[in-house]
Symmetry: C2
Subunit: 219 residues, 2 copies
């Protein structure tokens, strides 16, 4: 196994990045946990930045690919038109399943994903935002296009903001899920599963997407 070292580094880095972020985790803690020499990171990945890119690539590629496949299957299927709420739920469920799909093989990838998004929208990190949209943006734009169909009354600008509100809900849920699960278990001694949370989240997202605009009278 020639890539045993590489994989051990990636696995350890993912865990640490998910728990403490990119800058807060040092190469020394990563290489120690991976039982690998310190210099191995620079040898195999060139730099710490290269390692971060490799870690994120490892799940972003399958995630976007899975999402793209599911969306294109959804688009091809005959429109059933049951209700806007249900149709939105289907769409968000596809997104949730794509997330769960990569999370299955790669346990802490969603927390890293959330950190990445947070960072990308951190003003003064426009380069990261540009890189992500250029490299992986296609699938998400695809998702936005389909979502847009169910929010036709909005202007592009209004939709832009709405979409990012929803993104915020998802990102926070993903990045905080570990802590929230722990709190929930302690406070209500009832343990929820990720998929329960996801399916509840889908309902919230679908409803939030349909919220009235300013000036509209709520029905």
């Amino acid at each position: 196994m020639t890539n045993s070292t590489i994989d051990r580094i990636l696995d350890a880095a993912e865990v640490e990045f998910a728990a403490h972020g990119f800058v807060e985790t040092s190469l020394r803690t990563i290489t120690t946990k991976a039982k690998v020499n310190l210099a191995a990171v620079n040898y195999h990945f060139g730099s710490k930045k290269g390692l971060i890119q490799a870690v994120t690539d490892r799940f972003l590629r399958p995630l976007t690919q899975h999402l793209h496949n599911q969306l294109s299957a959804y688009e091809k299927q005959p429109v059933q038109e049951p209700s806007k709420q249900q149709e939105l739920q289907v769409l968000f469920t596809i997104l949730a399943h794509s997330c769960q799909h990569v999370a299955q093989k790669n346990h802490h990838s969603l927390a890293v994903f959330a950190r990445l998004i947070n960072m990308a929208y951190s003003q003064s990190q426009g380069h990261l935002r540009k890189h992500l949209t250029h490299q992986y943006g296609a699938s998400f734009l695809y998702f936005m296009k389909l979502l847009r169909q169910y929010m036709p009354a909005m202007t592009n600008e209004q939709f832009f903001w709405r979409f990012h509100y929803l993104l915020g809900t998802l990102v926070f849920a993903l990045s905080s899920s570990e802590a929230l699960l722990a709190i929930c278990e302690r406070e209500y001694d009832e343990s929820r599963r990720i998929d329960q949370i996801m399916s509840d989240l889908v309902l919230v997202l679908a409803s939030a997407a349909q919220a009235p605009m300013i000036g509209d009278q709520p029905s």
Copy 2:
């Protein structure tokens, strides 16, 4: 003016913390921008941790106090019972106004606030979470109590999750508002104001709060 140095440090620290986070900003950049000697931070605040605490205290105290006052005024006023949606909007508007109130005097405080919340829910930072809830939790618990009234059909556990979904929406909107405003202005050459965004956000939050539960049929 004996606290001129202290204020200059706090102002500079707030800007840098908002833009780059707590760990990514060094005391040297803060003291340089504040035109103050490096050692001044340790002299006046003891340590970097002390400075962070001072920066966050400066807006958390007025924020929670304002929120508490508004909520208690709301509770005392006769119940008008127009609709659940409108009542929820009032409640979230109070929260939004409290945020805007501190943001007026302290321009980057909300971005710092968002970073703080994100950090607090970052598992392995239970101490920060505990500190925040112990020091400033009362007002937010008050808010949750009032919010709970309009979501009676949920169990405590369900409400817990719903609340944190909403918190996520708010936190992401606050922390990313600067970047989103810049993107929006560039893409749609239309500039939105914070208060427009806030009032739209209130509608989204109110709708998300009323999303059906799993198993419920959407009306």
